[in-house]
Amino acid sequence: MVVLIEKLRALFSATPTNGADDENLLSKHFARLRAQDPETHPQWLRLQRELATSEHAVQPTRTRLIPRMAFASLLVAVVVAGAYIYFFLAREISANTFTTTRGQQKQISLSDGTNVTLNYASDLVVQEFQSNELRLLSLRGEAHFRVPRNQTPFIVSTSCAEVQVVGTEFNLRVRDGTLEVAVIHGIVRVSAKDSTLTLTENQMAMCAQNGFPRRIADMPSPDYPGWMQGKLFFNRTSFEAACREIEMRFDITININDRVLRDEIITGTLGAATAENALNALCGLTGKKFRHENQAYTIY
């Protein structure tokens, strides 16, 4: 009996978290044992059962803390991760991407008042504008920008060069690895490979990938670039390339039967309010005809 009581004491003392409760339980058991005959076997069995029950009753007090702590840890982890994403990552990933496919054009109004018209088959990525920070965009394809005057520079990155303005209207065209810049109003700086070119109204520049920006002839017409008014401008462009441009503009297919015609060079403006309009002009120029069959136009 004494040995058992000692075992019980040892057992309860091994659970430091429930000291007061254990003392009470032991006292209760000892009182009961003393009141009854301690030497009978059923008494021992009952005592063992009660001890087993009381041990189970004590157990949850210890184990309940583990899920609570785990939950609290998880909560803290979620809050910390959320705060990190909000304050650090969100600033980097808060960019809007605008995309057009063949035959599409899209009007975009940015939060700083800039109006962008995106031509066909183009992508424009706009980083969220923060006050007094650079306004950063990246372009693939062609877009016309009308940027309101603002103290913070407006920078458009392309695969060929970086174009910086403060307040101006200009057109950027990145096709076949070459950037073409046309300034309609204001001042534009074109930078590539540590070389910067400043352009003013009506001036144009080109920059090939991994090349230096260079001035080209002034804008051929006050209507330039014209694609928003249903015109296509060509400067020493092959007939075939002009047809490819019309294909992209209207999402159509053009077949040219005459091989010599494909290589002819053309310059000027094409009225291109519709695909037929543009093809009429090309055929009017070259004395050819066109027909529409099997979802394709054929110039013959």
Binding site: S221, K231, F234, R236, E264, I265, I266, T267, G268, T269, L270, G271, A281, L282, G284, L285, T286
Partner: protein, 150 residues
């Protein structure tokens, strides 16, 4: 006494002025319909200061007004280019050329083809006098002179 002297002087100046105007080309303003299906040959460029730039004798640059307000032409002699575009008339003397596109074949520097093509885009008015046609630029500082092809 002074008035007696003034009267003959005024008459003299009026007559002198009238004689000067007789030296100018008398022009009439054509309606747009008159241009339809007509072909003209460029002869010269003339600036406001009276400087005339004649074409090389072999430089042949025609201007044809065809149906549906189309304009076209094929140069020859010194240049093998051809062009195409549209024109519109808002009044009897106002004319503009738009959507002008040109081929770029061999064109020797002596040819005035590209001058013609660039000037055509600047044209805003015309004057017509018999077999002559004048196309003026926006501020009327320059004009192109054509003769009608029969």
């Amino acid at each position: 006494m002074m008035a007696r002297w003034h009267h003959p002087l005024i008459v003299f100046f009026v007559l002198a002025g009238a004689s000067c105007t007789k030296n100018e080309v008398v022009v009439t303003e054509p309606v747009a319909g008159e241009l339809n299906n007509s072909t003209w040959m460029l002869q010269a460029f003339e600036t406001l200061g009276g400087r005339i730039e004649l074409l090389h004798p072999r430089d042949t640059i025609p201007l044809t007004f065809s149906d549906h307000r189309k304009v076209k032409g094929r140069a020859s002699g010194l240049c093998g280019n051809y062009y195409y575009g549209v024109y519109s008339t808002s009044s009897a003397s106002a004319i503009t050329f738009d959507s002008l596109i040109s081929s770029e074949a061999l064109c020797v520097p002596e040819s005035k083809y590209w001058n013609f093509f660039d000037e055509l885009r600047q044209v805003s008015s015309l004057q017509h006098a018999g077999t002559r046609l004048y196309l003026y630029n926006g501020n009327r500082t320059k004009r192109m002179m054509f003769t009608r092809m029969l």
